[in-house]
Amino acid sequence: MSAELALPARLDLPAATPLAEAITALRGQDLRMSAEAVTHLGTPGLQVLLSAARSWAADGKSFSLQPCSEAFTEQLSIFGIDSAALSAPGREV
């Protein structure tokens, strides 16, 4: 089973909790998220994504962020975050 989720344009403080809930709802499945529409990546949003990546890695499910908008990639690099931290390969079963 795999799921897809399109991230909203703004991943700021108000968006963080709804995002966490939306992602939690997809737990247990391989997840591909599109960050194509993201214009602003705030720290609260980033924390949710990082936590999700860790959780998916712990579950052995694949987690990916593809495709990413330019703004998203740039802001990620400003945060000093390697995109590897936001992906989990999933475990071959």
Binding site: T17, G42, R54, I78, D82
Partner: protein, 732 residues
Amino acid sequence: MTSPDPMAEIRASFFIECDELLEALQDGLTQIDEGAADDETVNVCFRAVHSIKGGAGAFGLDDLVRFAHRYETVLDEVRGGRLALDHDAVLLFMRAADILFDIVRNCRDDVETDATAVEPTLRELESLTGGSEGEEEEEVADFQPMTLSLDLGLGAVDTGDTRYEIRFRPERELFASGNEPLFILRALGELGHTETECTLGAIPDLSKLEAEGALLSWKIILETNRARNEIEEVFEFVEGLCTLEIEELSGFSLPPLPDLPEISEVPGDSAESIESEDANSAPPISRLNLTLPGAQETQTPKTAPVSETPAPAHASAKSQTQRSSGSPSAPPATVRVDLERIERLVNLVGELVINQAMLSQSVAQAGIPANSPVAQDLEEFMQLTRDIQDSVMMIRAQPVKSLFQRMARIVRESSASLGKRVRLVTDGETTEVDKTVIERLADPLTHMIRNAVDHGLESAESRIEAGKSEEGCITLSAAHRSGRVVIEVSDDGGGIDREKVRAIAEEKGLVQAGQSLSESDTDALLFLPGFSTAKTVSNLSGRGVGMDVVRKSIQDLGGQVHITSTPGKGTSFSISLPLTLAVLDGMVVEAAGETLVVPLGSIVETLTARHENMRALGADSQVLQVRQSFVPLLDLGVELGFREPRSDYHGSVVLLITLEDGTRSALIVDRIHEQRQVVIKGLQESYGYVPGIAAATILGDGQVALILDPVDLLSSANGKTRYRSADLQIAG
């Protein structure tokens, strides 16, 4: 928070830095030439060129990189002790430094550098080491990809950047108050080069995540030439909402990141977080190098260049040779300000001075006694105004060093083209002068230096014949003397050949044959328009129009030029200038009902004219006996055309005026009002040249008063009371 073009700003500061580095290079080469150099001096030179190269690489200034690289390669030979420098070699290095200066300018102004002008000097330079040219070319090509890796290790320090380690941990409230670390990190990136590390250790499993909490923290290494307070300003709005540590790193070798392994094994979240095999795919610490958009900088693993470099030696050397950067807690804070803003401030202060004078006048007119509180407060206010004025003038003051370095180049170039060996000795480089004065001094000084090399110094043969060393010496000095700046250009040449000067002057009809002239009068002939002593016109010091233009430029600056010359020993030109072009200490006087200001600097004393001291001379003129000498008597009112000469000057007030060259005149005025500081308001732009008048000012009562130009007044005194010291000599 985002400035319109951060790259343009960084680029601009790179060129400012280049100026400093070039200055250091010049200083170093001069020291080497004088034999006052040690190993560190060569290092300083090398690093200066190297830093320019590093910065140039980052901005893709290929011409500059190429030249600096080849220059640096030869300097490296010197540094390594494989190449010893004699005088000629140092001169060559200086010439190369001049070219480097030009290329930096060209790059700044986006002008293409003419390679043909550069190449011969480079070849000559490289021939010192015997390095074959092909090798060099190859090396340059090889070098290209290395530019930035070198820059990474050395450039940061060499270009005067400071490394800061910033640890930033937001609190939960930071987000709640609408702040966002992204903007802060971005703002830091705009201050310089950053390396940002995000610590992810506290990120829990999604089920335990508190989405609105603060879980991340950052460590940022910032290389910047900005002051610490600018970094602190970035965090201004999150003060109290985060934990913040800013630490200046003394060396440039990166500390071994002690918390790297620790955090990757953060035990706290091991229980329910990732399994060890997954740790590889999602490393807890991710490191990214963040460069500003547009910077062509690429990063190489930082361990490589760092390990190549003798870090501690380098770092300590920096603290000795670069600008004194002070202790980490208090770096010297400087601000770059538009000159326009300063001009505006200067003008406003000028208005303040005028206003304060008006206030004083009103208080005096109101009949308020001098010991009343109002008068005393006013006194304090006046003092304060003066202090403010001095401080504002100091903002514009700059050491003459940069000007002197430009002159050093003039000496090098002109001596080379004439085939003379000339040494320039400078003194008083730290003397500060108003920036506008410095700028306007460059041209006249250039002319004087060229004249000194061309006409002042004899040929090598003549020098040897005269028992002097073959190498001529030109001394350029600056000093503050009684509220003025005195700049002297002296040579140890043959001195002014007065016979020849006289002969030429007679031939050109500038003086009459047989007219007797004092030595200083003869010397002053050099300043007459159209006078030239050079038998052949050299393209170097012009066509003999030089010195009168020089004198005019200096006079326009409110200054005076004076020559002294001793046959066989040399000639000295001394320029005396006001410290600033904005204010003047003057004596407010009255002549024929007009209020005028006489610059205080030219007044030696005030006297009263008495019958027994006045002697008639010729039909229209008189002289005044001042102790043991006679001084021509001038009536200011007559000289300025306000009135006809009076029949009797007995009891008149006389100002004894002395010019820089020793010329004295007795100037009759009707009354002396007061002695005070006046704000100079130029007349040149609105009225053009007014004979005998330098500028105007506004007095306390709102009246406009003209400021006299004593030099011009005395030299153009042509009324019925016209006396000139030359005439006096003839008469006597």
